[in-house]
Point group: C2
Chain length 276, copies 2
Amino acid sequence: MAQPLLDTTQLCVHTITTKPWPIETAIDRYAAHGVQGMTVWRDALAGRDIAATGQRIRDAGLAVVSLCRGGFFPAETAAGRQAAIDDNRRAIDEAAALGAPLIVLVCGAALGQPLPVSRQQIQAGIEAVLPQAAAAGVKLAVEPLHPMYADSRSAINTLGQANDLCAAIASPWVGVAVDVYHLWWDPHLQAEIQRCGEIGRIFAFHICDWRTPTDDLLNDRGLMGEGCIPIRQIRGWVEEAGFGGFHEVEIFSNRYWTTDQETFLGRIVEVYLASG
Amino acid sequence: MAQPLLDTTQLCVHTITTKPWPIETAIDRYAAHGVQGMTVWRDALAGRDIAATGQRIRDAGLAVVSLCRGGFFPAETAAGRQAAIDDNRRAIDEAAALGAPLIVLVCGAALGQPLPVSRQQIQAGIEAVLPQAAAAGVKLAVEPLHPMYADSRSAINTLGQANDLCAAIASPWVGVAVDVYHLWWDPHLQAEIQRCGEIGRIFAFHICDWRTPTDDLLNDRGLMGEGCIPIRQIRGWVEEAGFGGFHEVEIFSNRYWTTDQETFLGRIVEVYLASG
């Protein structure tokens, strides 16, 4: 089991967690609460000068941890797959402009085709954009998603699959994002975290909690400590595997988005220290 | 890929699929539609003479396929675990009275404790009731549940885990129920079905479909063909593994429960032949 957290040195928050705030407000308030890193969702950059926004984040004392999100490679048509590749190329450009060292990939799944086909298209898509990512100095993190998203969001649903995919691609620019929400239930999680760590491929660590009951498949994530995920134990596993990066709070919640975001952010810091 | 279905010889429907109907209506209407088997949920037996109900099912020309459901073994207290064992003993008595050769086990998960602890308690619970089940001639089918139910319904979430559990218990009275809804996403599914079939432990095969979007984690299952599950392919895998039993339609759906059940049952037979 990991040691309790003593400070916010490794605390990062995703802009989507405080979705009602424009990114400028998020930058100010995160910094005021002692948050040390920010993962930027692409929608938060709409209409902004991306490079200037990156500078603004750094000027506030925050690290730009990653850009969310690329991926969604599978499609039933070649034109659809090419459009996805083109969009990922734009994401790489955006990450470079922002100064983000990493893009998180939600790999995608095409409803009309078998999962193995989608998996092949995911690998092909990553390989297609990989040279540009490497040239830009931007890493790519495959994020395995919970099996309840296998229909339309990701055909990569376990860390074992993500590790296999990374092994097949075999590039130091491609690793994984370990998100406790997606992976906590997996009996092979500890072993797969260890396997991933052995080759230095844990690129990100995302936290939140699983509420019981969960009312919405997408937007009912809980604050750390509010659910059943053994967050601290899993943090211990990623630390034992050599990961020392940020702990990224990524909460999609209709419940919290409708509350006062300043109070919500205060609670995030509080429960992060208590349960993270 | 399995051959298309030509008739309803292997079609079984779960009473919960047509929940608004009392079991007496379900017996009559299933028989009228050519359904050949019925899996009885325990709530459908409330206030009935169980043996007489079993006889009524058989008199209508239907096979009693299984009793749903036992399980829910984990609990934080010894008293809670004993209560679960006692309830499973009652379920075995009910199955014997009904003439059901099988009980489906939804294994359970206790929110307040780690999944590995719940898994040990599941094994201990099954082993505690196993002698009574064997004496009654009632088999027990471990049903791995989708990982989205790992919080409170089952700590057994893949067929691999269910196979491991069966191997540890090592009794011809304990096998698995393969439900496409819970397992379709698993990249190891075909291999685990084969492994399970090699020792003759596929005791049941449940079908329905995964809707996109799914609006409710519990009660938004789809009719066969309405979603993304490769039902026929998975049926092919269980057949190759030696399973020749019933195809059990188990649909929990707020959407369909509020429609005319006679029309719904007609649709079930229709889509079973088209997509099953």
